[in-house]
Symmetry: C2
Subunit: 348 residues, 2 copies
Amino acid sequence: MTVVPGPNKARSGVTLRDIAEKVNLSVSAVSMALQDHPRIGSDTRLRVKGMAKTLGYVPNSAARALRVRTAGAIAVIVPNTSQHVFGHAYFMHVLTGVTQVANEKDAQVIISTNPDESHGMAAYERVIRSGSVDGAIVTSAAVQDNNIGDLVSSGIPVVLVGRFPYFPEAVSVGVDDEAAAYAATEHLILAHSRTSLLHLSGPLDHQSAIDRRNGFIAAADRHGIVAEVVLGDYSEDSGRVAVEAIHTIRHTVDGIFAANDEMAFGAMTRLAELGHTVPAQISIIGFDDFGLSRVTSPSITTMHVPVEEMARLATERLFGLIAGDTVTPQDAHAILPVTLVERQSCGC
Amino acid sequence: MTVVPGPNKARSGVTLRDIAEKVNLSVSAVSMALQDHPRIGSDTRLRVKGMAKTLGYVPNSAARALRVRTAGAIAVIVPNTSQHVFGHAYFMHVLTGVTQVANEKDAQVIISTNPDESHGMAAYERVIRSGSVDGAIVTSAAVQDNNIGDLVSSGIPVVLVGRFPYFPEAVSVGVDDEAAAYAATEHLILAHSRTSLLHLSGPLDHQSAIDRRNGFIAAADRHGIVAEVVLGDYSEDSGRVAVEAIHTIRHTVDGIFAANDEMAFGAMTRLAELGHTVPAQISIIGFDDFGLSRVTSPSITTMHVPVEEMARLATERLFGLIAGDTVTPQDAHAILPVTLVERQSCGC
DNA sequence: CATAAATGCTTTAACGTTAAAGCACCCTCT
DNA sequence: AGAGGGTGCTTTAACGTTAAAGCATTTATG
């Protein structure tokens, strides 16, 4: 490449006007022909479409967006710094699901992270207010993120991925973390006869962490089992630290339920270093099944969260909202099933 | 949420005109004031900016794009079906790098996958021709993807991530896969005295696979080592299959260099199932270091590819191109270093 | 002190698109 | 034969923005 002169070069640049001149019609007629408007004769329509194809016409999206007041794009909003967020395989699954559906609808997907507050307004708020997108998918937000409240009440179509009891009026697609945690805990108790359980909790400003902890406690209570909760932050390292601490205090733990797989992995590797065998001495169950749990040794038994499916459904509902669907309170919140994936770390 | 009436609701909708009316100025004056045009008095400028802030003005991006003929957005093009591609952790790293830089420049990032050819034109071509983006980052394309040629010669700013000798005129950011493969192979030979090597190759329509294979062969030749290449497809399963096949043929393999970590992992687990110990009997080295290799047992020694850094650099160069930078042939292709990460699977 | 230049705004026009209204023309009724 | 209704297009206007040109008014210059 030698020279790129100025901001823009030739660049396609075929407009409706170019077509109109070639076929001797008004610009409007061409526009209508391309849209299959009934008041355009079929021969004209064919002539126009043929010419459009040979000239390689592609509608200018900015002009179209300006005129029809919809952008043909949706945003995926990740209210964190991109660094932290993309670290989670979670996001990959979300993106896969969203793009699948968006592709079907010929819509663009734009990624909006929230790098910092340097520009005063949240990055994604600007994106939305600028009209670049018709709606937004919000993922992995904290429990009471005020920006979400603003977003939802602003009337912009928004679908949340996850459970957000603080925003009952928002449309959401989530899973029943509490029931899933209950099931996982019960699996340790019933299938593996574990009697002294430890839960590695996630940060409690996220609803998923709260729900998973509550499910654990409920199951332990229900079966009258010794149970303890250690607060982690979803990181592998916090899993390591958690089992270290607990092991200086109580030596009887024989089952661990971690709120995600990374903590389970951290706990598992640290326990191995400390000379404990998993699953012989200690059963471990994780949560998420985003990839990690399948490849470790021993592989980690976990609760499979169908993120991709959640994302697909969320996106479909988003397009519904954009199209003007009305949503009644009772079907505003979709809940997808979480399933136990039995691997090695629990002893199955 | 009860009712979302019609396509669009209230939606911000503050325009320059609203501001102009409030401060009793022409729309142009307001526009100029917001841009710090020197011909606008400083008191007026402050008055306008104040009003813009209180009204919550956000420029309409479609209108702006239409007028100034730049979109303020770049595309990340992934020439595969999204399903397949997001499966690779690779893409997560690319996205992280791209969004970081794009955020700095206040640009949007749009994801453009290439679902199928159902619309005649490649999806990403439409995106670009429609003027939705000012440039594009192309990742993980096949060696001779014609679409890339079209893209590059169309004059649209494009930066390729990877090495693309077939498009010498395109700006690219890659790594020296051949040298890296040479180094990895030599590590097996020199550090671990392995004398009968097997290479699990990637699909040879990707330059990285070709280069890695060539580096392997070069190193084996250089040291007069018994070497064999088995063709894989970068999948875990192809790694499993490869070692199975090879084991019925020759029993002397004591070192494996896989073109990526997933195949290395597949080979490693299958070998374990077949009763071979890694690294005692067989040393394994992978390639990529996108996450998997660190968490397996044994962990996989691998060549670390700095994807995120590549993506950052590529994006910076893209913004350069968009701004009109000229690129001389000798600095069109950046090559970043690949480093050996010594873990357990090689015997280190 | 007349003229040139700087200052601070307004007017005009344009980016490419689309929806609505308008206008011929032909056809069908009764 | 004149009203009424299709049919096939054109004209007009608008979406929100910005760049250029225009035009007063003030300030500097010879």
